[in-house]
Symmetry: none
Subunit: 418 residues, 2 copies
């Protein structure tokens, strides 16, 4: 069951506003088994809107239009639809009454600009109203058209409560698209493609998607199924296949973030962590504390950005800094051991690196980052070389630090470094 | 000069991904006087992409296409374009060499999936490469088509550095839309609207836009001008009017972030800062160190997430924690003074609050956050009550901490608290 979404507004074509309505509607429709083949954004003018409508009507069974239903001068959707589909505007008295009641409730006088909203194209059916801006639907050449307000809350409410149930009634036995996301860290896209290349023979009707979400890579598996229940075991089977091929690099399924996974593991094992951050500047602590309840396993940390801070707050030895440099396994080890001891934590994690753009050398170019993890039993350390700009190096380093915790507490080895 | 943008990817039509590329490109093109009349998102399949291309070619002088240029199986744009425009794929040896060099630099083997990316349609011109994914352009029936990667950083870089200069060379004498953004912190949107209500009479042809960018509010002033030079004094005049009305709440003009402003001020005054963070968990340090060269004014900090960390790393007195609580002016003051002293900094800034969702009480509900700033002369402290969820409280708190530094070093008073 194919359909399209048309979002209307000069603010969309001029780049002033991000089209969250199209995004929301396509996600909700897809999840309900109503496939969206095209999203179009056009300005508030007759030529653009009528062209978009006519083009969509050629290949779609349903069309969702959002925007331009308000009371101000630049809201022209209804007039354009009336002209484009050759349906004169008629006063909907029920709608007028609703708008009047709503205006009174808000202490607004009923003015001509509000009354304008009660004139809808001949044959149109009003959708249950939300706020002053209502939506309407009509059927033209067997195509079902829905016109919704551009205000996201109103649009979402009408879409979820009226449009999707309406469409699912029209098209019974709609299949459901089931989708599962697997999150990967430590393998780049070409490498993932190589490792999964012989998956297609074993994966039945599943469709794969690959999405770089720096510094992670996400893989989606989509299945079209008659019922939500039927597809789940098949998704489980394919997830298992992928996990077998990619191994521990798959760190999460679904919506969970790396920090959530790490938090869940620490709670499960009853461990507390502390961090000593140099080039990440506090980002590891920020990611860990983004998760509600993180105080159960995160005690705190030290951001030792300057060498003085490394010495005075963490007791890193001057000799280590001089002989090995601030960016070295030895410095990272002393940082990790110190923060673990100072906060009586089970684990101490430390990061020291060169985020750039300055500070690199031939031996230690920008992107060189050393990590250490100290526990009661041992202290492990290793260096990596990350690509990208300052922000990329910081993000990659913070994610790597979390990944070290994840791999350590699950008994896996770290990703190979330099 | 009308054009269109086509963004390709099943993740866009299925609602998995918000189309930030179309948004970015339309904004940049519009600002350069290149009007975008339609944005279209379609899936990675021949029918949808070729239909979108053909439809766009009917009414546009330029078309920007993003996505589907990567190395994985679902990246089909090049093949589809080759078929739709009847141009066979040819191996671009220069491009192959660039991809090979890039792969070697990343320690990746040159595999078939990477080599695929060097085959581009006959007659296409390679755009300056960014990373492994390059773009290309071609001219068909006098329409200029640009194909860019879907990875936002690569797309943005090629658009700004190659595509827009190229189009402006083709279409000389384009009028320019001049736009200036003023960034505001500490005033909400209705309050800004009220304070600026009599601006319209004094602002000539300027068009205003209001964009909430939590926790900031951004105001754009747009002018259409024949030459970039002509509009600048008028923009200066209007900026001055707005600054007079909103005062010190306007913290930046243009692209600069709050952390950049703070950094520039600290360098100018020759001051160094250190931070003691509780509920922000490291976010203040992360924001400060996002700026290249921040080691000149940021020494480091302590993330004292637990009460033990406040005592052991910062020496906050047990009595203070017991009598006043961790979220209090007194605790924040001791934190700020301690971190300032420990790192020999000019300024010590501290934040302690309840980010939620748990931990609130009747006296100190979720969103209660206390701040302190210690200098050689004095220690100032104050509490605020922020709305929103955990992430919102953290962001607002970190921005407020930076705003305290900004206001302190410029001799302004802080925003009023509880």
């Amino acid at each position: 069951m194919h359909g399209e979404i048309i979002t209307i507004g000069n603010e969309l074509t001029s780049g002033m506003t991000l089209d969250v309505n199209g995004w929301y509607a396509s996600g909700r429709l897809s999840a309900a088994g109503l496939q969206v083949t095209r999203l179009t954004s056009v300005g508030d003018d007759y030529r653009s809107v009528s062209r978009a409508l006519k083009s969509a009507m050629e290949c779609s069974r349903f069309i969702i239009v959002t925007g331009g239903l308000g009371s101000t001068e630049d809201d022209l959707t209804i007039e354009i639809v009336s002209r484009a589909l050759n349906r004169p505007l008629c006063l909907d008295k029920g709608l007028l009454e609703i708008i009047r009641r709503h205006a009174n409730g808000q202490g607004t006088d009923m003015c001509r600009s509000l009354e304008k909203m009660a004139w809808i194209p001949d044959g149109a059916r009003m959708l249950s109203p939300e706020g002053a801006a209502c939506g309407f639907s009509l059927v033209e050449d067997h195509v079902h058209l829905y016109f919704l307000p551009g205000i996201p809350e109103q649009m979402r409410s009408l879409l979820d409560k009226v449009v999707i149930p309406d469409l699912r009634r029209l098209y019974k036995k709609l299949p459901v698209t089931l989708c599962r996301t697997l999150k990967v860290y430590g393998l780049n896209e070409p490498r993932i493609a190589e490792m999964l290349q012989d998956l297609h023979g074993e994966s039945g009707n599943a469709v794969f998607g690959f999405y770089p979400r720096f510094p992670e890579n996400h893989i989606t598996v989509s299945l079209i199924s008659e019922k939500a229940r039927d597809g789940a075991p098949e998704l489980d089977r394919i997830e298992e296949l992928i996990r077998k091929k990619l191994g521990v690099a798959v760190f999460a399924t679904g919506e969970e973030s790396m920090a959530e996974i790490v938090g869940r593991l620490l709670v499960k094992k009853g461990l507390c962590v502390s961090v000593a951050e140099s080039c990440t500047g506090g980002l590891i602590g920020h990611l860990l504390t983004a998760i509600p309840g993180s105080s159960r396993y995160f005690l705190g940390g030290i951001v030792s950005y300057s060498n003085d801070a490394k010495k005075e707050l963490l007791g890193v030895r001057a000799g280590t800094l001089k002989q090995e440099g601030a960016v070295s396994n030895k410095t990272a080890e002393e940082m990790a051991e110190s923060i673990r001891r100072r906060l009586h934590a089970d684990l101490g994690v430390a990061v020291s690196g060169i985020a750039g753009p300055d500070g690199g050398s031939k031996e230690k170019p920008v992107g060189t980052v050393h990590f250490a993890l100290a526990s009661a039993q041992e202290t492990l350390s290793q260096g990596y070389r990350f690509g990208g700009n300052r922000a990329a190096v910081k993000r990659n380093s913070a994610t790597m630090a979390l990944d070290w915790i994840r791999r350590y507490v699950t008994g896996n080895t770290f990703l190979p470094g330099i």
